[in-house]
């Protein structure tokens, strides 16, 4: 195929000269290989053949939803918890373990791990990624460490950005609304078939949770402003190899603390988040492909400030040293190989170096390094058109946490056309976050007056999960209906938890980490997608989760709602007007760490949009109303979410 492509590339100029005004139509249109459709795991698969349950949020859903920020989209996935610690700190978890530092889901952006090297959580509002640049999001519901390694304990969110070939020209987008909501973005792209590029810049912000009508002296501030610049360039060589270069940077300012909060007076956090990635692929997608991905990521924030004078310690001011700089370097090689016509495999290896400079959290002025090496393999065996087996294995060696093995086996049975039953079993681990293993965090008032807040004994082991699931997929082109249901049973042990122990400091207590608690998650969930008429699309989600936990150190059994449901409806009126309505219902829960008990709540988002021509450009104007009636509190009772209205104008030049 290489020689074929080479030959074709060589002949193209000649053909172009001959048929310039016809487009360069050659035999290549018939003979070239095209990429396979779905990426479910390490192998390109359809949902029916994948060993896990996958929910896809595609470009059309992103456009149709009333979402303004990425995390809001996950409400369209059954079982996903989307909440906020404050207006700029989003929490995304699956079924349970909602924590401001939710660190048990793996987030991948174009294959690159996008969680903090220090705390292992994802800083959703600081990702250098504009909503407009997302092509699709695949949410793998359930443990998937066998394919992607540590941190994929509860699930994986895999975000794929748009190919730059789809961003030719200049597009601007302006959003303005109440509560200080603003967004201004511009995308510029160019290039043609073998080379294309895209640059996106965006400024985004809001005033966080609603404070109107409340005594400003009693609330904390949570305004945010973020600017980002991101780019991507794709190049296909004459030999058929494909190169992708991705790079981006986001800078943000976040308000934190409150006017009357003596311990955490009002201050700004300045954050930086960046990445650079090179991805090379060569070979035939269907038979033999080599791929190398190398990337660097940066997750840092600057947050050093003083408390107000504290009468409890003779009027001294304490120094908060919360600044963090985490960098990650990773190289991964993967080979995808069809061993036989019914046996496809993928194997590869990866090495990662995490570098953390966090003197306030780690109690050391130098940079701490941690390395991770992994070896993985995945096999898909098709015994017959109806029976498919998937087997995966991940071997990881983490310098801090040791060696762990994560296996998975799944069997899919297509017992009728469009109907699949899936049974799977997997074991997975989560290696401790650097801060869990090495924390030494204090609030220092003077050399002798210190409140030690965190102090790790270390020697933590990786958390473990054993997952069993039964899945069912029903899909009918005639009825235009897809139903995806699963029953799950997850057992997690060696949960790394905070606990208090006596310590000779100001308050006589310190928080340490230990592998202590266990929990079991049992339940079922279902997603139905139905298009009764070409103009109407309906999506319904429901998840029931029964959580049991030893609850020795924290209230794990209440760290997720028992019931979560959502309904999404989109209606198209002609080819230029569409509207959508989304309704969420979220059961009561008590979040971990700073979380409080929050009662059951509902939320409604409404959106209407119209496309039109404006002075020779293609424009689209939309109006979104979030929570038109009433207010809600998610994660913390102090979070007061009230009606938000914003208009958005997109112009393609």
């Amino acid at each position: 195929m290489h020689r074929l492509l080479l030959g074709m590339a060589a002949t193209l100029p000649l053909c172009a000269a001959v048929m310039a005004d016809e487009g360069t139509l050659t035999e290549a249109e018939w003979l070239d290989d095209l990429p396979v459709v779905l990426a479910g795991s390490r192998l390109d698969q359809t949902v029916a053949d994948a060993p896990v349950a996958i929910s896809v949020i595609d470009r059309e859903m992103i456009e149709a939803s009333g979402a303004r920020e990425i995390q809001e989209l996950f409400r369209l996935v059954p079982g996903m918890i989307v909440a906020h610690d404050n207006g700029h700190h989003a929490i995304v978890s699956y079924h349970a373990l909602a924590d401001p530092y939710s660190r048990r889901m793996l987030v991948l952006i174009d294959g690159r791990a996008a969680y903090s090297p220090v705390i292992s959580h994802t800083n959703w509002t600081m990702l250098p990624l504009a909503l407009e640049d997302i092509e699709r999001i695949e949410v793998i519901r359930g443990s998937n460490a066998a394919a992607f390694g540590a941190n994929a304990l509860l699930g994986v969110i895999s975000i794929t950005t748009r190919r730059p070939h789809l961003a030719d020209g200049f597009t601007t987008r302006t959003t303005i609304g109440n509560n200080g909501i603003y967004r201004q973005s511009a995308t510029l792209g160019g290039g043609r078939d073998t080379f294309a590029w895209r640059l996106t810049t965006q400024a985004l912000g809001d005033h966080g949770y609603d404070t109107s009508g409340r005594d400003l002296a009693t609330v904390d501030q949570d305004d945010k402003d973020t600017v980002l610049l991101s780019g991507r360039a794709d190049w296909q060589t004459r030999r058929g190899a494909r190169w992708e270069l991705h790079a981006g940077m986001a800078e943000g300012r976040r308000e934190h603390g409150g006017v009357n909060n003596r311990l955490r007076p009002e201050h700004d956090i300045t954050s930086s988040n960046g990445y650079a990635q090179l991805h090379w692929r060569s070979g035939d997608d269907a038979t033999d492909r080599h791929a190398v991905r190398a990337y660097w990521t940066l997750d840092s924030w600057d947050q050093t400030y003083l408390t107000q004078p504290m009468v409890e310690v003779g009027g001294l001011q304490g120094l908060w040293e919360l600044s963090v700089r985490g960098e990650r370097y990773e190289v991964e090689y993967q080979r995808t190989l069809a061993l036989r016509s019914n046996w496809r495999s993928a194997w590869g290896l990866a090495s990662r170096l995490d570098r953390m400079h966090a003197p306030g959290y780690l109690g050391r002025p130098d940079t701490l390094n941690n390395s991770l090496h992994r070896l993985f393999t995945h096999h898909e065996l098709r015994f017959s058109p109806e029976w498919v087996a998937n087997m995966g294995l991940m071997l990881e060696h983490d310098r801090a946490a040791g060696t762990e093995l994560s296996p998975r086996v799944a069997l899919n049975w297509g017992y009728l056309p469009g109907q699949v039953l899936r049974a799977s079993y997997s074991r997975a681990t989560r290696t401790p976050a650097i801060v869990e293993e090495n924390a030494d965090h204090e609030l220092r008032f003077s050399d002798s007056v210190i409140d030690q807040l965190l102090l790790s004994t270390g020697n933590l082991q990786a958390e473990r999960i054993r997952s069993r699931e039964l899945g069912w997929i029903y899909s009918s082109a005639v009825q235009d209906l897809t139903v995806d249901a699963r029953v799950f049973h997850d057992e997690i042990d060696r949960l790394i938890t905070y606990y208090f122990e006596p310590y000779p400091d100001l308050d006589g207590l310190v928080q340490n980490f230990r592998n202590f608690d266990q929990m079991t998650l049992k339940g079922f969930e279902v997603q139905a997608r139905w298009r009764p008429t070409p103009a109407l699309r309906l999506i319904g989600n429901y998840a029931y989760t029964d959580i049991w936990s030893t609850d020795t150190d924290e209230l794990y059994s209440e760290s997720g709602p028992r019931n979560i449901g959502s309904m999404f409806a989109e209606y198209r009126l002609g080819s230029r007007t569409f509207g959508s309505a989304t309704w969420y219902r979220f059961g009561e829960m008590h979040g971990l760490n700073t979380g409080t008990y929050v009662k059951r709540h509902e939320r409604v988002d409404l959106k209407i949009a119209r496309e039109f021509a404006l002075a020779g450009t293609a424009a689209r104007l939309s109006l979104t109303v979030q929570q038109p009636i009433g207010n809600l509190s998610d994660f913390r009772t102090r979070n007061d979410f009230r009606r938000r209205v914003f208009a958005d104008l997109r112009i393609r030049f």
């Binding site: 053909c15 139509l25 050659t26 249109e29 018939w30 095209l34 059309e60 789809l166 080819s575």
Partner: protein
């Protein structure tokens, strides 16, 4: 190049005196180009002495017919003033007329394209209750609009068409057409469908649960439901037989045309995921032939 030399040598060893010489010019030495050549040589049998060369190789003076395989070779020879008969294959129909120079009655092509009636017969056989079929035209394929409408009439299909001017528009055009249609027919057009956008377009169609009918085996592998297409070996065999017939009387060259032989490819996984219970390939092909009134 070594392969060429060996083949040429092998050919020169044959007793070639009385037989006409047919020279094949391959745009590329291997892959589908070679498949065409091998099949054509077999079909020609003992009717001709066959020689083969690359794009830049000299053509024997004694050659009474030149067979250009692939667009580059066709552009070189069908577009030349050479008075000899030039047959071309593994080329698309779009642009062929403008490519031809010299004595146009001495130029004949066997195209890669399928007749639209055959493609729409496939749609009818795969999706019997289907009423509305989407088509996205580009700068090349828009020329086939009337042929699409004629074929659609024959099979009682309504066409939702959209004209995209470039791969930039295709995203929206594709979505607009998919929403209004029950399935989509892709027609070859390099300005619209590229290696880079086909994946996301097929993904969109999959999400919307709209089958896509492709035009090549690659499309079917990538996630289109099915396609009728002619393999390089089929093209070679058909062209070889055609040249053998022409050699017997050396009359006017046959008119350029689409191939009679074709293959049906179905992506069974996609069919399964769409909930379609399709008959085996052989049965489907039989039904297509019956619809088209072809002999089995």
């Amino acid at each position: 190049m070594l392969a060429f030399a060996l083949i040429a040598m092998a050919m020169s060893a044959l007793p070639a005196h009385a037989r006409p010489v047919v020279h094949f010019v391959l745009s590329e030495p291997n892959g589908p180009y070679r498949e065409v050549f091998v099949a054509a040589r077999t079909a020609l049998g003992g009717d001709a002495t066959v020689s083969v060369g690359a794009l830049d190789d000299a053509v024997p003076e004694s050659a009474s017919a030149i067979v250009a395989v692939g667009t580059a070779a066709a552009a070189r020879w069908a577009g030349s003033d050479d008075p000899r008969a030039v047959f071309a294959t593994l080329v698309p129909s779009a642009g062929w007329q403008r490519l031809v120079r010299g004595d146009t009655t001495r130029r004949s092509a066997l195209f890669l394209d399928q007749p639209l009636t055959r493609q729409l017969a496939l749609v009818r056989v795969l999706l019997p209750p289907l009423r509305e079929l989407g088509v996205v035209y580009g700068p090349s394929s828009v020329a086939r609009r009337d042929a699409v409408l004629d074929a659609a009439d024959r099979f009682h299909l309504f066409i939702n068409a959209h004209h995209a001017t470039s791969s930039v528009d295709i995203d929206d055009a594709f979505l607009t057409v998919l929403r209004r249609s029950e399935a989509l027919l892709a027609l070859p057009d390099s300005a619209v469908f590229t290696r880079f956008n086909v994946q996301s377009l097929l993904l969109t169609s999959f999400r919307l649960r709209r089958p896509v009918i492709g035009f090549s085996e690659s499309w079917v592998r990538a996630g289109a439901l099915a396609a009728v297409h002619t393999t390089p070996a089929q093209l070679g065999a058909e062209l070889g037989a055609e040249i053998a017939t022409w050699l017997s009387d050396r009359g006017p060259l046959p008119a350029s045309r689409t191939p009679m032989r074709y293959t049906l490819s179905v992506n069974r996984q996609v069919a399964f995921s769409l909930g379609l219970n399709l008959a085996p390939d052989a049965v489907l092909q039989q039904r297509i032939r019956a619809l088209l009134g072809e002999h089995p």
